[in-house]
Symmetry: C2
Subunit: 277 residues, 2 copies
Amino acid sequence: MRVQDQLWERGGNAANTSVVLAQLGVKTEFIGTLADSTLSRLMVEDFHKYGVLIDHCIYHNNCKPPMSCIIVNSSSGTRTILHSNRSLPEVMYEDFELLNLNNYTWIHFEGRNVEEVLKMSERVVMHNGQFIESHDRIQISLELEKPGLKPSFCKLLPKADVVFLSKDVAKESGFQNGEECVLKFSKDVKPGAVVVCAWGELGAWAVGPNGEVVHSPAFPPAKIEDTVGAGDTFNAGVIYALSRGSSILEAIMQGCKIAGDKIGHQGFKIDAGTVTT
Amino acid sequence: MRVQDQLWERGGNAANTSVVLAQLGVKTEFIGTLADSTLSRLMVEDFHKYGVLIDHCIYHNNCKPPMSCIIVNSSSGTRTILHSNRSLPEVMYEDFELLNLNNYTWIHFEGRNVEEVLKMSERVVMHNGQFIESHDRIQISLELEKPGLKPSFCKLLPKADVVFLSKDVAKESGFQNGEECVLKFSKDVKPGAVVVCAWGELGAWAVGPNGEVVHSPAFPPAKIEDTVGAGDTFNAGVIYALSRGSSILEAIMQGCKIAGDKIGHQGFKIDAGTVTT
C-alpha cells in the first residue's frame, strides 16, 4: 500500500514535553537513555534544533533504539501504534545521582521504572529539605500515563508536587471521568499537591490544595492533523504555567490550549500565539 | 501493540542486489539517488559495511527518503508493506552520462523511470558496438518487478542480455506460471538474451539462446524468517553465476539457493556456503 505521507519524529513522553517547554522559553534539559546508533542521531538533532540540553543523557552500545511505527488513517483519524523496545536500558539512580540538583528548579519524571524513579524523587525530596522557602525547592512533577503499573506506582504519588494522570490510568483505576479521577487520587498524593487529569476532547480536570476541582474545556483546532504527543504537550503547558505562578485553572487551560494547537499540525513546533500566561 | 522485534534495513531492489553481489566477491557499485538526510546515513553505512561503492550516487536536498514499513505476521509470515516515496527524484540520463563505461563489465537496471533508463541502456549498447569480442562488451541486465509499467517497459526489453521478470509482472501479462512467462517474453527480447522468472516457492524458470526452458526448484530453509529482498538476492545469484560463465540452469539454481539461504535469516548477510559456482 502506498501511504500518503510519512513523518519522522523523535518521540518519548518526557522528550516531547522537553521540546515544547524549550520553545516556551524555559531552559530545559532532557535526561534519558539513548541507543548509540544512527537512528538516535535523529533524536539528538531534534533536541539540538529546539535547544533542549542533553548533556546528561546516557548512551548505550549494542542495543536498538525504541521505535514506534504509527499508522494514521486519514479518513477516521485513528492511530495504530506498533511499538518496539527490546533492549534499551532505563535511566538508573546512579545516572541521576550525577546531577547537581542546585541547577534545577523543576524536575518532571515519567512514571516508569518505578523503583529507580522512587530513589531519584527521594533524593530530590531530601535536597528540598534544606530549604525553608518553598520557592527554593525543586518542584517535582510525575506523569502516570501507561496503565499496568498499578499498584507499584502508588509509592511515587506522595513524592510529587504535581501528578499527571492519563485517561487510561484513570479508567484502569475504575474512574469514569476526570473529575472523579482527580478527586480520588488527591487522597493518595502528598498534602497540597496538584492532581491533573486530561480527558481528550472533554478537556482537563485538576484539583489542588483547597480541594476545589477545576475544569478546562478542550480547544480543538479546525482540523485535527496529528494527535501524537498531545498529552506530553498538555503537560508542558501546565508545568510552564504553574512554574510561572499561574493558578491551577489557568495552568490546565494553558495546557489544553497548547495541546489543541499541537494537534492541528504535525510535529511539535509550537505557535507562540497559544501561550497566554 | 507491542511488536516482537524490529529490524532496520537499507532497501531498494538494486541496492539489495548490490550488497549480495559485493559479498560474493564482485566489485560492485550502486548508482542511485539518496535523500541528503540523517536517515540516508543508514543506507550509506550499510553500503560501506558491505564494500559497495557509491561514488556516483546523487544526493538530493530537501526531500524525504523513500521508506517502507514492513509489518510481518510471525504466525502466518504475511507481510504488509506501507510504502512512501514522496519526493526523491530518479536517476537521470545526465547522471549516468558521467560514468566511464570502460570501468564496468555488467550493468543491471531496475525497470523504472523507463524513458531515462532507455537512454542509459542505449548508451551502453552504443558503447558495446565498438567491440568485436563479446567478452569485451558490458552485459546488460534488466529487472521488471513491479506491475503497472506495461506497455512502456517493452521498449527496454530489446536492450538487455538478461531480463528478470517477477511473478507479479508475469501474472499481469496473463501468464499462469514461470515457464509460460519466459517462453512468451523470449519473443520480445533481443535474440540470444536470457529470460528469467522466479516464482516463489515453485523455484525459477529461464530460457536462453537455444530456446530450451530450464527450471530450478526452490531451496527453502527449515524456517522462513524474512522474505524481504528474496527476489533481489535471487537476481544477484543469477548475475554472479552468469558473469562467471555458468550455464543458465546453474545460474538460476545459484539464484534459488542464495535466495533460499537469505529468507532463512533476517537481512542480507550471505552464508558463503550457499555459493556453489
